[in-house]
């Protein structure tokens, strides 16, 4: 298998991680930890798949997937911001609920295969070796993922709204004292996170493996949460991490092709083990985490007297 093909598959494997992690990054930067990524991705995946199957329109499917992810996030937002529920527990509930609901909706869609998302085709230009093949022959969600990372990086570091978002995540009391609407900012950040997870799920069921399988995210949502820590809450590094993990996922598929006799189960463990290793490496430097992590993450905000 040639290198270009490998890079292409790596991009494909990385895109869902990248989309979900970028969304979670914004949510966490606002000071909210949403552990429901896995559940939102699953709901996004089944909604996109079902919509595409019924309407025959992938665009509608992606939109529906994103909307479904957003509405899941909306439930989460209401619970943690208004009902002041524990964020860890609510995130877990979101995941458990997402697994159940997606499986229920998905019972009617098992075994259907869809055409994968159409790829950009600029004719001869897309066929230019290496660059053309890699950069000009992807589907639109891949381009969207590139765009979103750049957008989020720009938003966080260069815009006033990004500054406000960071301020809210850093100290909700100070932000409140200056008159910023802490709960509104957080709610929007949560919704954005859900939107991106919905896109990530759509990509899984429409492009990565264009069919529906129960629990098809297989822990990718959790890996996306870990990637945000890995990237020490910076968009560029989160993207780097997503591609690293994409590469590890792809590695396991190719190893057997290279004639190595390793049971498939051990290769499948790689992304999970890599997540643990990566977490350990990043977390051991407490000072680095302290300087980069949003300080009020996971804490409920109630305006004081």
């Amino acid at each position: 298998m040639d290198l270009v093909a490998i890079v292409l598959t790596i991009i494909t494997a990385s895109t869902p991680l990248l989309l979900a992690a970028t969304g979670e990054l914004i949510t966490e930067k606002s000071g909210v930890l949403n552990l429901g990524v896995e559940g939102m991705m699953l709901i996004g995946a089944i909604t996109a798949f079902a919509t595409t199957t019924i309407t025959n329109s992938a665009v509608l499917g992606v939109l529906a997937g994103a909307a479904a992810g957003t509405s899941m996030a909306c439930v989460f937002g209401i619970l943690v911001l208004i009902f002041l529920a524990n964020q860890v527990a609510t995130g877990l509930a979101l995941t458990i609920f997402g697994i159940g609901l997606s499986a229920l909706v998905g019972t009617g869609f098992v075994g259907i295969a869809l055409e994968p998302l159409p790829k950009l085709d600029l004719g001869p230009i897309s066929a230019v070796p290496v660059i053309g093949q890699i950069l000009l022959g992807q589907d639109f969600l891949v381009y969207l993922s590139f765009f979103m990372v750049v957008l989020v990086a720009y938003f966080l570091s260069k815009t006033r709204l990004g500054l406000i978002l960071r301020a809210v995540g850093e100290s909700h009391d100070s932000a409140h004292a200056l008159g910023y609407p802490v709960l509104l900012v957080r709610f929007l950040a949560i919704l954005f996170g859900g939107f991106m997870c919905g896109l990530a799920g759509s990509y899984l069921s429409l492009a990565y493996t264009p069919l529906w399988a129960e629990n098809m995210t297989a822990g990718r949502g959790w890996i996306a949460v870990a990637l945000v820590v890995f990237g020490t809450w910076r968009a560029g590094r989160v993207a780097l991490g997503a591609y690293l993990f994409g590469a590890i996922t792809i590695l396991q598929l190719h190893v057997q092709g290279w004639g190595l006799e390793i049971a498939s189960q051990f290769m499948s463990m790689l992304p999970y083990l890599a997540t643990i290793v990566v977490l350990v490496i990043i977390s051991r430097d407490g000072a680095k985490i302290r300087l980069n992590a949003p300080q009020s993450i996971g804490k409920a905000f109630t305006p004081s007297r």
Binding site: R160, L163, I164, R166, A167, E170, S171, D173, S174, A175, H176, A177, L178, G179, Y180, G286, A287, R290, L291, Q295, P303, R305
Partner: protein, 524 residues
């Protein structure tokens, strides 16, 4: 005439106009605000004239903070009217307050540690500024008022005094007509406070009114043109502080004759109880202060006061002395009652006769979600034998809690009450009581009366004096110099993680302490 006003206030203000008084900049009429279980503001009237430095005085819990939050738009009053330059207004939020011309410097700053000074300032400004323009404007303001700040530094690397300057510059950028300062000198050295007063005077001369909130009456007397005294949510007096004697104001503030603490004579009993030698500590937390070369001893019968501005290593010192932190740098030595405890934990240090009361009560020296009985176990478990082979001796813990309540006049519904339901003063009496009933020979206490009402503060200070008289060694780490002078017989000053020992409190000058608090060497 604005139609929304309620009648009474309308009449009052027209009376004022009729009598020919100039228009007030800010006029509050009958402001009330209730919280569950408490009426924080009860029909408060307040007039602030343009260019006036107006003192707002009151004890903790008198309703000062609630009132200024209403003025700054952070809270909305249940009743009452706000007039700004003669017109009735509703202030819906801080950004509207700022657009009217109201600026506020918070007591616990509203700064973001992980952001730069520039970003912090940008967050508090509602107009759009080009970065370059904003920079030159900041330069201009800080030069004009002698408030130097470094724009590109991260706030977590600034001292508390520098942070306050950032807050003030941030307000001044918008040329406010009214600047509210909430307990501004509680974080300053006496010299820094002096220069703040100068800044405030300049501002006042240029026509900016200042609402100055404090419980320190000598400051009010010194800089304010007018003062309003609050007690239990009500205005008890308006006065001209330059004419009113401090004692009179103090009695109005507390509502009764001030009891005096009779310090009596403290005599060192000669036994060396606390011995600190070359203590050095570097925390892994990048936002914390390094402790450098700290050495001192405290004997039985002595109370050593460690003065200093917040954020100079007091919290770190407390955690090192109490054994919450044990990974000190070599060659630090801590000895309690002649035993080396440097690498011993908090529980072991207690068994050697030590007691500790850190500054933060909720969630540090007490678990607010637990009952008083359960909170007794936190520190008295081993020292008072409340444990029987791994099990909790419930009966003993209960009677211990009951004796704290009766000995220290803790007002509560009972030993089963959730600790979080206690008021600040009662919670601190409970915590200090818990330590004192263990009969410590060493007590290290941080900010013993912070946020506590005067009555409780007196009980607490007396208890500390009695403990020292009985032969214990006491260390009080406090930012309140008045408190240190009232209770301690020896004083030390902490600045930038280092401690200067000054010795007998009768022999030191305020000036010397102030210079040291600012982190400079004092030349005799």
């Amino acid at each position: 005439m604005p139609a929304l006003n309620d009648n009474q206030n309308n009449m009052k203000s027209s009376y004022d106009k009729a009598s020919g008084e100039p228009n007030a900049l800010l006029e509050l009429g009958g402001i009330s605000k209730a919280f569950p279980g408490i009426l924080a503001n009860d029909a408060i009237d307040l007039r602030v004239m343009p260019g006036e430095i107006h003192g707002l005085v009151g004890e903790n819990g008198a309703g000062k903070s609630t009132l200024v939050k209403i003025i700054y738009g952070l809270l909305r009053p249940d009743q009452g009217t706000i007039k700004w330059e003669g017109d009735a207004v509703s202030i819906f939020g801080p950004s509207q307050a700022r657009s009217l011309g109201i600026g506020m410097v918070f007591q616990h700053f509203s700064l973001f540690e992980a952001l730069t000074v520039m970003e912090n300032i940008a967050l508090a400004i509602d107009e759009k500024w080009k970065t370059q323009e904003l920079r030159s404007r900041i330069d201009e303001v800080s030069r004009n008022f002698g408030l130097s700040i470094e724009i590109d530094r991260y706030v977590h690397s600034l001292s508390v005094g520098e942070r306050q300057r950032v807050e003030i510059v941030r307000c001044l950028l918008q040329s406010p007509k009214l600047l509210i300062l909430d307990e501004p000198t509680s974080v300053l050295t006496p010299q820094e406070a002096e220069s703040l007063f100068e800044t405030l005077n300049i501002l006042s001369k240029r026509g900016c009114a200042i609402l100055y909130i404090s419980h320190k009456l000598h400051e009010i007397k010194k800089i304010c043109h007018a003062a309003t005294i609050l007690r239990a949510g009500r205005v008890v007096a308006n006065c001209d502080p330059s004419k009113e004697p401090i004692k009179k104001m103090a009695e109005l503030l507390v509502g009764s004759q001030l009891p005096e603490i009779n310090r009596g004579r403290l005599t060192a009993h000669g036994v060396e109880r606390i011995h600190i030698d070359n203590l050095n500590y570097t925390s892994k937390d990048p936002f914390s202060v390094k402790l450098k070369n700290i050495s001192f001893t405290v004997r039985g019968g002595e109370i050593l006061g460690i003065a200093g501005v917040a954020g100079n290593g007091q919290t770190e010192l407390m955690s090192v002395l109490s054994g919450e932190v044990k990974d000190l740098d070599d060659p630090s030595i801590i000895k309690f009652n002649n035993q080396i405890v440097t690498s011993k934990g908090a529980a072991e240090r207690r068994l050697l006769g030590a007691g500790f009361v850190p500054e933060q009560r909720q969630g540090h020296s007490a678990v607010t979600e637990m009952s008083l009985i359960e909170n007794v176990l936190l520190t008295a478990l081993k020292t008072c034998d409340l444990e029987k082979s791994g099990f909790i001796d419930q009966a003993k813990a209960r009677s211990f809690a009951e004796s704290i309540i009766s000995n220290f006049d803790v007002r509560t519904t009972g030993v089963q009450a959730e600790t979080g339901s206690l008021s600040g003063g009662n919670l601190q009496k409970f915590i200090v009581g818990r330590e004192l009933l263990q009969q410590p020979s060493i007590l290290i206490i941080e900010q013993p009366t912070w946020g506590v009402d005067v009555g409780a503060a007196i009980i607490l200070r007396r208890a500390l004096l009695d403990l020292a008289k009985s032969g214990a060694a006491v260390i009080i780490i406090s930012q309140d110099l008045d408190e240190i002078f009232e209770v301690c017989n020896k004083i030390a000053v902490m600045a930038d993680g280092m401690i200067s020992i000054l010795g007998d409190i009768a022999a030191v000058s305020m000036e010397e302490i102030g210079v040291l608090m600012g982190g400079q060497r004092y030349e005799h």
